[in-house]
């Protein structure tokens, strides 16, 4: 089995990518590009129960669990938010529940997102992180009860 990069290593990649940009115009163009490239979620997943609360735009998030790893898929009707989710998926997907629960996600701060974007509560970035961690926690608990 190939060695999986750690969450910190994946965060570092994003921080390095962002360091190439001089202006926020460029950063947004990059985020928008990520949003456009994230595959659309299948229609059957776009239902109310998969919606993340606390977002001005609609965000759908689904998680699956196989071989001890959590996989995330998501979509949004707003492209910048979709780009943000794309980064979160890039960092958090295909990790164990414990790794996801313990992730500090310092990259959000380091790329300037907290001062530039998250202050407008509408983007719901923190809601998405919370929802992803909740999924990880649910899989962990499910796992533990199955072992008993």
């Amino acid at each position: 089995m190939a060695v999986r990069p750690t969450i910190e290593e994946l965060e570092e990649e994003i921080v390095e990518n962002f360091s190439l940009f001089d202006s926020w115009d460029e950063k947004y163009e990059y985020i928008i590009d990520l949003g456009k490239k994230l595959p659309a979620l299948e229609a059957e997943h776009k239902k109310d129960e998969n919606k993340v609360r606390g977002c001005q735009s609609t965000v759908w998030l689904v998680a699956s669990y196989s071989d001890g790893l959590v996989h995330f898929k998501a979509d949004s009707d707003a492209v910048i938010v979709k780009g943000l989710i794309s980064m979160l998926i890039q960092v958090l997907s295909v990790h164990t529940p414990d790794e996801i629960i313990q992730a500090k996600l310092g990259f959000i701060d380091r790329i300037g997102m907290t001062t530039h974007l998250a202050q407008t509560r509408s983007n719901g970035l923190l809601s998405m992180v919370k929802q992803m961690k909740n999924f990880a926690l649910a899989f962990k608990l499910q796992n533990e009860s199955a072992k008993q």
């Binding site: 947004y28 001005q56 735009s57 609609t58 492209v79 910048i80 530039h116 407008t120 509408s122 983007n123």
Partner: protein, 414 residues
């Protein structure tokens, strides 16, 4: 202000802009272009100075004190009441009840007049373009009293369906609560006609003037509405200030709202008697500083003249409407013939939130979302819009900045 003339405002907003210090600031490294005036307006120096002056020179509790400071503060506070009375054209100063804004005014009427007078089977008509604050208080009281809140439909151009209104008006209608100017669309409703028709079936009328007070010349006596509410912060005044107007004969017979100091005549455990108008509805220490400063905001508007401001803003509205309509894929929501200087729009394939974020990055402040009018958004089958709203200090150059910002943002997003 003495340097400012009517013609200067109409030809160039520079003189006006100098009175609003916040307009000089930078946002995201660019000059602020503030186009969210329907949410709140910025404050002129006169208002900012009035607040500082109050706290630096005559801060005191009002009405009860015998000392000089208390007398000065009371005089200034009551002077605002006279100014508000004149500003909206009320007949008597005691018809002006200070509130923290339009929402509190509506709730006051809901919890006093409506709670007492709305009975099981009665109907409260509200327009389909109401702000949530002119829907929810009525739903609460209707729920308690077994009454119904009935929406008056909105037509495709964003005007109220007046023939539907006529059909919905019946003997069951006890109250019509309607917005003077829509915060989401800018539509100006024909309130005089609405009031006359409602009165003909014996219903009372509350007019929500949160958006109209800053833009339109009107007179509540001419309008003949029973209640009128507005927020000070949307008329260049401080947040937490505002007023409810009610016809004296109604206010006199309505039950009290909040109990406490100031609203009483005599208190004993055998029974308490209440103060006269307007103090009957002003329990507790009011928002003295902000209410005092509200007068300075209204004086500022009066000095320039509401007609002058209206003409200038209509010019901005027409200019912006023409410019935005040139943008491919952009559709203006709300095309009523009579509008305040508000433009709501959607763009094909573009989410309002994305536009809002990218415009903010260019220093341009607009509002995105449902604007607290979810039923209206449902009516148009959209989750929300992007809204640009103009004030007396908005410049034509700022509208150009909006147009250019939109074109560039849309290009980036599509």
């Amino acid at each position: 202000m003495e340097t400012l003339t009517r013609s200067e405002l109409l030809t160039d907003s520079t003189a006006i802009r100098q009175q609003f210090p916040i307009l000089n600031r930078m946002v995201k490294g660019k000059p602020l272009v503030y186009l969210d005036n329907a949410a709140t307006t910025q404050k002129p120096l006169a208002v900012i100075d009035a607040l500082t002056h109050y706290y630096s020179h005559y801060n005191a509790n009002i009405h009860r004190g015998i000392h000089s400071l208390a007398e000065e503060a009371t005089a200034a506070f009551e002077a605002t009441r006279d100014t508000v009375k004149e500003f909206i054209g009320a007949a008597h100063r005691e018809e002006i009840i200070f509130t923290k804004g339009a929402t509190e005014g509506i709730n006051l009427v809901a919890y006093t007049w409506a709670r007492k007078n709305i009975k099981a089977g009665d109907e409260i008509l509200v327009s389909g373009m109401e702000h949530h604050s002119n829907i929810v208080p009525w739903q609460i009281i209707a729920g308690e009293n077994g009454a119904r809140v009935v929406p008056i439909p909105v037509l495709d151009d964003g005007t109220m369906d007046m023939s539907a209104f006529q059909r919905l008006l019946t003997k069951k209608t006890k109250l019509v609560a309607v917005v003077h100017a829509s915060n989401s669309l800018g539509t100006i409703n024909p309130v005089n006609s609405i009031v006359a028709q409602a009165h003909a079936v014996g219903a009372k009328v509350l007019v929500d003037g949160a958006q109209s007070t800053v833009h339109l010349s009107f007179d509540v006596q001419d309008m003949d509405c029973d209640f009128f509410v507005f927020s000070g912060h949307k008329v260049y005044g401080p947040t937490g200030s505002g007023a409810l107007y009610g016809k004296k004969e109604l206010l006199e017979t309505m039950p009290v709202f909040h109990g406490g100091g100031e609203m009483i005549k005599e208190v004993s455990f055998e029974g308490t008697t209440y103060n006269e108008l307007p103090y009957k509805y002003e329990a507790g220490t009011p928002n003295i500083a902000d209410t005092i400063a509200l007068k300075f905001a209204l004086d500022f508007v009066n000095e320039i003249g509401k007609e002058t401001i209206h003409q200038y803003e209509q010019g901005l509205l027409n200019y912006a409407t023409d410019a935005l309509e040139q943008i491919k894929g952009l559709k203006i929501i709300g095309k009523a013939p009579e509008k305040t200087s508000v433009i709501s729009f959607i763009v094909d394939g573009v989410h309002p939130q994305d536009l809002g974020i990218l415009l903010d990055n260019k220093g341009i402040a607009v509002r995105t979302g449902h604007h607290c009018t979810q039923p209206l958004m449902d009516r148009f089958g959209i989750p929300g819009t992007t809204r640009a709203s103009f004030a007396m200090y908005t410049s034509y150059a700022e509208i150009d900045a909006l147009t250019e910002g939109l074109e560039r943002s849309i290009k980036t997003l599509l």
